[in-house]
């Protein structure tokens, strides 16, 4: 399923096809040198967009993708190498491979499949790492694969030239494969998996809390991007006819990454822009560095101008456009309207995973961070159709308790259960699928995604994505943010961002929702409005709410029951009236009298 409006996809595909075919027609009119330049451009662009599928959508920069290009190149080359050539140059090749000689298409297909399998296995291990640790691991991958390619002499000829590969890559085959790769990358970006992965890139904790299994989405992107890299590698092998492991090592890694980063990692438009910019600048400068004459003046050859030029573009881009020349949006997203939601057009209701009256119980929960006991032996129960307030002075362990109940933290001691279902060690995305959604003390929206996409991600990632659009739109309408549906989340005011966060939680159709300081930064009217909404949801739909806030007026008016924490311990619970009179609470807030 594609999550963006169909007109975006249609515009994008038309643009890609027109661009590639147009360029190919121009180049073939200009002659064979231009054809070669464009063929190399297409092959590079496939690689750049392949890197973008993983790095752009996941936010993890990879230095290791050239290894997949290498695997693809060697696999495809080995399959197409004429049998006599194999006998002469690779006498120790396994027999089944020595006798195999396939055509180009078969070889490319097999190379892509083989690379995908390798990438899947590597991805299982690499996926356990986050952020810069993952980036460094990809660097390790590049070095290891390079080492294996050099060491596996019987199959790869070591660091010597692997030659005799049929030169079958033509301008038009490169163009067609490039169109395919760009379309696949574009579709993936707005597929369910791509949207979830981008949400995870924007905010991993929040994405998990709305049911996104980030590692799974990352693995999908990793394998898909490796497949695209393999395609690029195979085409390169059949373009050059001779290559060695150094073709798929640091030099080309940095050239292709420069294209991706200059253009903008997160979009297909960015990949195209970056590859185009660097290729055009290179081609222009290259013509001058061999020496030329202007008005009778002879300018001598200065080799290296090209590299300096590329270096300057990277510097310029990083200073002026740190997110890349194309920015964070696809071209068509800038010109065409996105998803809109009409405020009250439909009979919209936020529904609740109906009649799951099972309460959530936290039993004897303790959380230690080193020597600090943040929460100490707290037992808590939250039921649907009830609004529970959780209060306490700063540092009393409220957020830590919420984090344990929602799976963000695993308690040091104690258990979390919903009925018979033990959720103590459940991952946040599993907790979300048991009807529990939450918001965060520091707003955690998917900043670069639209409001609609923020909420849609949650709807798609819970309840197996059933009725996702319906749930998404209902939640947006219910929280009164329909007019912002097309806007990026980070352009909204603070109060509206809070509302979007709640809408995103509601789109999961939870039976329990945890709100961590939802009224912070809202004015009185906004707070009253929020209270009304929450009361309606509880009374009409049977939603259970656990709310943390410092606004005691809000808590008193809203809550059926209040729980008070101090220094990690539960010191009181009861109705608002009882709590107001409780001496322990008064002492915790005001100190000894």
């Amino acid at each position: 399923m594609i999550t963006s409006p169909p007109k975006h996809i249609v515009a994008s595909i038309l643009g890609i096809v027109a661009l590639c075919i147009g360029a190919a027609l121009v180049a073939s009119a200009l002659g064979s040198a231009s054809e070669r330049i464009l063929t190399v451009f297409f092959i590079s662009l496939i690689a750049v967009v392949g890197m973008g599928v993983y790095s752009g959508n996941s936010g993890i920069l990879s230095f290791g993708h050239l290894s997949f290009m290498g695997i693809g190149a060697y696999a495809s080359a080995l399959l197409t190498l004429p049998v006599q050539m194999k006998v002469a140059t690779l006498p120790k090749l396994p027999e089944w491979l020595a006798g195999t000689e396939t055509g180009l298409l078969t070889a490319i297909t097999v190379a892509i499949l083989f690379t995908s399998i390798v990438a899947f296995i590597i991805g299982l291990a690499l996926n356990r790492l986050e952020g810069s640790a993952a980036t460094i691991a990809t660097l390790g991958l590049l070095i290891i694969v390079h080492g294996i390619t050099i060491g596996w002499r019987d199959v790869t000829r070591g660091s010597q030239s692997f030659f005799g590969v049929p030169r079958d890559t033509t301008l038009w085959s490169a163009a067609i494969f490039c169109i395919l790769a760009l379309i696949v990358a574009r579709l993936y970006r707005d597929s369910v998996s791509g949207l979830r992965l981008r949400a995870g890139r924007e905010n991993a904790i929040a994405a998990s809390a709305v049911g996104v299994h980030i590692r799974r989405e990352r693995l999908i992107a990793w394998v898909l991007s490796a497949a695209i890299m393999a395609l690029s590698g195979a085409l390169m092998a059949h373009f050059l006819g001779a290559f060695s492991p150094k073709k798929f090592y640091f030099t080309d890694t940095f050239l292709l990454l420069a294209m991706l980063i200059v253009g903008g990692m997160t979009t297909v438009t960015g990949a195209i822009t970056g590859a185009l910019t660097i290729t055009i600048v290179t081609e222009v400068l290259r013509r001058f560095e061999g020496g030329f004459s202007v008005a009778g003046m002879e300018v001598p050859a200065v080799f290296g101008t090209t590299q300096i030029g590329i270096g300057l573009i990277i510097l310029f881009a990083m200073f002026r456009k740190p997110e890349g020349l194309a920015g964070l949006k696809e071209l068509e997203e800038r010109f065409l309207t996105g998803h809109s939601v009409k405020p009250k057009s439909k009979d919209t209701h936020v529904t609740v995973a109906s009649a799951d009256p099972t309460p959530l119980t936290g039993d004897n929960l303790t959380m230690r961070f080193g020597g600090l006991v943040a929460v100490n032996g707290v037992s808590i129960e939250v039921k649907p159709s009830e609004i529970v307030g959780l209060i306490g002075p700063n540092g009393s362990g409220k957020t830590t308790l919420l984090n344990m109940l929602s799976g963000v933290l695993t308690p040091t001691e104690g258990s979390v259960q919903r009925g018979d279902m033990v959720l103590t060690n459940a991952a946040p995305h599993d907790v979300a699928n048991h009807g529990i959604a939450r918001t965060f003390q520091n707003i955690r929206l998917f900043n670069e995604l639209t409001v609609y996409q923020n909420v849609l991600t949650a709807a798609l990632s819970t309840l197996d994505g059933k009725r996702a659009i319906e749930r998404c739109e209902a939640a947006i309408v219910a929280m009164g943010v329909a007019q912002f549906a097309e806007n990026d989340a980070n352009t909204l005011s603070y109060g509206d961002q809070r509302r979007v966060e709640i809408a995103r939680a509601l789109a999961c159709e939870p039976s329990l929702v945890f709100l961590d300081e939802p009224a912070a930064g809202m004015n009185r009217e906004e707070t009253d409005e929020l209270m009304k909404t929450l009361q309606t949801l509880t009374s009409e739909l049977g939603l259970g709410v656990l709310i943390v806030d410092h606004d005691l007026k809000l808590i008193n008016q809203l809550c059926d029951r209040i729980i008070v924490l101090n220094e990690g311990m539960l010191i009181a619970q009861g109705t608002p009236a009882e709590i107001r009179k409780n001496p322990a609470v008064i002492e915790a807030y005001l100190g000894h009298s």
Binding site: I150, S159, S161, L240, K246
Partner: protein, 384 residues
């Protein structure tokens, strides 16, 4: 505008006969990147030769040489693009990088355009074999170097050898050629060891050789920096006193600064400057033209390359037809270059050149001679 076009057309027509007397040589070589270390000094030598020839009125006093230079940035894909552009620009001879990858990536274009291509300094005898009729090399082949050093070793009365090679590259397998020639001329190969390029630690190999019952008279390797110095030191430290024979890869200042460990090492290289010999003449010209001393024999190798082209054009009597030039190059015999005399006749494109033998003596370069290899002894190129 119309008038301008007419004038241009007339100009072009007038220029046409002049064009026939200009030989276009396309340089698709690495001026930047990892290969520039090899290509760049060769191209410096090419310039010296071209300027000298043009100053004298061109080849045979008629054919001027025009260089069209492209930097391929040490990349195979760029080499194929540059080669195509140069072919489109109408070059008669193409110069390709020192390394096999980029040369082979361009060879398809060269062959279909039927233009001769010369690699700046590739020494693998398989390159012209794979490259086909239009691919020529411009350096003593690995197999030729090995033949010269093996013949020298046998003349010195060395009967046994041990070889250390790396299968990582064509070049570092030169000891296999050495062993072949050594055995063919009646010597015994006691054993062999392999290493990887950049291995650094050679103590295991050194210990193995030191513990041999019969110590080899010579040990041959074509390892180069940084492997060669560590290998040599490990061997000497283990008590191995055999004569060490290396190849042109160690023709660098490091080899002469190794002190006692380096003493007596013999290696082959492309040439040696003696008072009044062509290489010394070239070095004088180089210094006059650039203001710097020539620090590597690759400068002279570049000069040789143009001397080969010059000789071929003299044979074609000034014709710049690429096919004629190719045929002429393939039949050249005994052309005097800066480093050596050069013969292509009877080869597959790997020239027969003299190889200079150098010995390290007291940290200085001692010239042992430039014996011409016995053609019958030169081993056939190995494809693997």
């Amino acid at each position: 505008m119309k008038r301008f076009l007419t004038l241009t057309a007339i100009g072009a027509l007038l220029a046409a006969p002049v064009m026939a007397d200009t030989l276009r040589v396309g340089l698709a070589t690495a001026q930047t990147g990892g290969l520039a270390t090899y290509d760049s000094p060769v191209i410096d030598g090419v310039h010296i030769a071209v300027n000298e020839i043009n100053a004298a009125g061109g080849i045979g006093g008629t054919t001027m040489i025009e260089l069209i230079e492209k930097d391929v940035r040490s990349d195979a894909a760029q080499t194929s693009i540059a080669a195509q552009e140069l072919v489109d620009a109408g070059v008669s001879v193409l110069v390709l990088p020192c390394d096999a990858d980029p040369s082979l990536a361009a060879i398809g274009i060269v062959s279909s355009a039927q233009i001769p291509a010369i690699s700046t300094c590739a020494s693998s005898p398989t390159l012209p074999m794979i490259g086909g009729d239009y691919m020529f090399a411009n350096f003593p082949g690995d197999n030729v170097q090995a033949t010269v050093s093996a013949a020298w070793a046998r003349e010195q009365g060395h009967d046994s050898t041990y070889i250390i090679y790396s299968p990582d590259s064509q070049y570092t397998t030169m000891p296999l050629y050495f062993a072949e020639v050594f055995e063919k001329s009646g010597g015994t190969v006691l054993g062999q060891d392999t290493h990887s390029i950049g291995q650094q630690d050679f103590s295991a190999i050194a210990t193995r050789i030191a513990s041999l019952e019969d110590q080899p008279d010579v040990i041959m390797t074509s390892a180069y920096e940084p492997d060669f110095p560590s290998m040599l030191k490990a061997l000497r430290a283990a008590g191995v006193t055999s004569q060490i024979i290396g190849s042109d890869g160690i023709d660098s200042p490091t080899t002469f600064s190794l002190g006692d460990a380096g003493e007596g090492v013999v290696f082959t290289t492309a040439g040696h400057a003696l008072d009044g010999n062509p290489l010394a003449d070239f070095n004088t010209k180089f210094e006059a033209a650039t203001g710097n001393k020539s620090e590597t024999v690759f400068n002279a190798v570049g000069y040789d390359l143009i001397k080969v082209v010059e000789a071929a054009v003299l044979v074609t009597e000034g014709s710049t037809d690429p096919q004629k030039i190719r045929d002429a190059i393939a039949n050249l015999e005994g052309i005097q270059g800066a480093t050596s005399t050069i013969t292509y006749k009877g080869t597959n494109g790997m020239p027969v050149r003299q190889v200079a033998l150098i010995q390290v003596k007291g940290g200085e370069r001692e010239y042992l001679g430039s014996p011409s290899p016995d053609a019958a002894m030169i081993p056939a190129p190995r494809m693997q």
